[in-house]
């Protein structure tokens, strides 16, 4: 059963001072997210990712279309007990400390003491803010704010978390930690819906992705499937080679590079694959790896979305 349902969602913003004219930010977007998956929501700047998330959070009213979360309409308060949300570039009350902020949010969910303070403590540990627990938030760095944002999104043990660019503003270590948190959430059965343009994170985490461009949905599916359509050959890495090997392989493949004691061979087609592999087995060379060459998400973005 899908836990997030988006059907023919369209959103027009009225812009202009006197003569308002509609600008279409989302154009007939439909997609479904299944329970327990990590779903990546991708697209360049201005694609409509945040707009979609805001509609799901009932912060924006859609122009047309239907949205449901956990089977409930998005304005249901009962449903919102069961989800978490991290907005894009979040901001919190200047004069509160992380501890106070989380306590405040926890109270809105009706979590009582002493469970609440225990929970706040573990959450601060989880997001790496235990040392800053009583520093006012206005003294926080961008990455620290992002971390407290993640903490407040999961304080109610949600069934689904919506994260709008959770990695933005984080240092590499912070990004690794957020990856870890997201994987831990998935392991606990939580559905994670996150938008991002940091592609390595998406590649590392997501079960499925949707790619949005200029308000239109371009693709939905398993990342591998979207990219595999365009397999451009294979890369074979060999060890234990000699000059003889190099000469032989060069005869059938044009792209051969040496890197230290490794030999990187790029095989463009099926016809090239057979002689090379045969030679490798006959000569008992060491086969380190053999991988399909597919465009990275970055390359896909460049090729597909530039058009």
């Amino acid at each position: 059963m899908p836990v997030i349902e988006i059907e023919n969602l369209t959103k027009d913003f009225l812009v202009g001072f006197w003569k308002k004219r509609p600008v279409r930010a989302l154009d007939n977007v439909s997609l479904q997210v299944e329970q327990g998956e990590i779903f990546g929501f991708l697209g360049p700047n201005g694609a409509g990712k945040s707009t979609t998330l805001k509609i799901l959070m009932h912060l924006l009213h859609p122009t047309s279309g239907a949205t449901r979360i956990l089977g409930d309409p998005v304005d249901s308060v009962g449903m919102r007990r069961r989800i978490g949300f991290l907005p894009e570039n979040p901001y919190f009350y200047d004069y509160l400390t992380p501890e106070e902020l989380l306590t405040y949010i926890g109270r809105l969910f009706g979590i009582r003491q002493p469970v609440l303070s225990q929970k706040v403590r573990t959450l601060l540990e989880t997001v790496g803010l235990a040392d800053a627990r009583s520093v006012q938030l206005r003294k926080f760095s961008k990455g620290m704010v992002q971390r407290i944002g993640i903490a407040q999104a999961i304080i109610n043990d949600p069934e689904i978390v919506f994260l709008d660019e959770p990695m933005s503003g984080l240092d590499p270590l912070g990004r690794m930690e957020v990856r870890r948190i997201i994987t831990a959430l998935k392991a606990a059965g939580v559905t994670v819906f996150f938008s991002s343009h940091i592609l390595p994170d998406v590649e590392a985490l997501c079960d499925r992705v949707a790619i949005l461009n200029k308000g239109k949905l371009q693709e939905v599916g398993v990342l591998e499937d979207i990219l595999k359509v365009r397999i451009e050959g294979h890369e074979v890495i060999l060890a234990g080679w000699s000059d003889e090997t190099l000469k032989t392989i060069r005869r059938s493949c044009e792209e051969v590079r040496t890197m230290g004691d490794r030999l990187h061979v790029r095989i463009g087609s099926r016809e090239q694959m057979e002689p090379v592999l045969k030679y490798v087995f006959e000569e008992r060379l060491e086969l380190i790896s053999m991988n399909p060459i597919r465009p990275s998400l970055e390359e896909y973005f460049f090729q597909e979305l530039k058009r």
Partner: protein, 264 residues
């Protein structure tokens, strides 16, 4: 209900940590103590002067606090986008508005209390020791508080759809003309034109009628103070119900606007 109180409590805490508040209270207290000096200059009328200036200070600085904090109330949450976090929680939009409003009412209550204590101390210093004077001050301050509750509701209403500068201007403007509401009604009745009469009556009923609360320095309080007689409770009760009704209408309007809003 608990969510409204949770939001109210947080609003109060946020206000308490805001420096603007302390500056305003400090000014009010300075004003009150200045009235002591001015009182010394006017022979025989010290208590009246101190009361006039003191209550006026409470009213004016209370109004400034109500406007500054009241407008920031919703606007700051929108501007800083903290509202995104809050409304994605199990919080209904009317709970948000009511929570914010109650939080500010509580802040105002504490502030008015502090200023009142200042005023009582000034009276004490002046040599005024009659208990009835201290007690009779309370209904007067209560009336001021009611007018502040009304101003706050107005500030909140404007801040749900307008910029802070405009909201402040609107609210301040209404606060001023609100004190002359009754004069407007008289003016309409004096006018020969039925049309003008109607317009004035219309405006009179729409704008907040702050003259109801305006007993500072006026006959009511001074008489009751100087004759050591309690104030007419029906005046206070009428003001209270007027305030209740007016605030209910204004808050409902704010909620209605807030419900339709897109948070961009």
């Amino acid at each position: 209900m608990t969510r409204i109180l949770v939001i109210a409590k947080n609003t109060f805490r946020e206000n308490v940590r805001d420096k603007v508040l302390y500056n305003l209270i400090l000014f009010a207290l300075i004003m009150i103590f200045t009235s002591l000096i001015i009182g010394q200059l006017s022979l025989g009328n010290e208590v009246k002067i101190i009361l006039d200036l003191g209550l006026a200070s409470i009213s004016i600085f209370g109004m400034l606090i109500a406007i500054f904090l009241g407008i920031g109330l919703v606007y700051k949450e929108l501007d800083k986008r903290t509202i995104y976090v809050l409304l994605a929680k199990p919080v209904r939009r009317h709970e948000f508005i009511l929570g914010k409003y109650l939080g500010l009412l509580y802040t105002l209550l504490v502030n008015v209390a502090v200023m009142t204590v200042g005023l009582e101390l000034a009276l004490l210093y002046q040599g005024e020791t009659a208990w009835s004077v201290f007690l009779n001050l309370l209904p007067a301050v209560f009336m001021i508080y009611l007018s502040l509750a009304l101003v706050t509701a107005l500030a909140l209403l404007f801040s749900t759809f307008s910029t802070p500068a405009l909201s402040a201007l609107f609210t301040f403007f209404l606060w001023i003309i609100g004190h002359f509401g009754r004069d407007l009604l008289y003016f309409g009745e004096l006018s020969k034109s039925v049309f003008v009469n109607w317009i004035c009556a219309g405006i009179y009923y729409v704008i907040p009628n702050l003259s109801i609360f305006k007993i500072m320095g006026s006959r009511h309080i001074i008489q009751s103070l100087s004759f050591y007689r309690p104030m007419d409770p029906s005046v206070v009760a009428a003001a209270f119900f007027y305030c209740l009704l007016y605030c209910a209408v204004i808050l409902s309007l704010s909620i209605a606007i807030f419900l339709r809003r897109d948070f961009k």
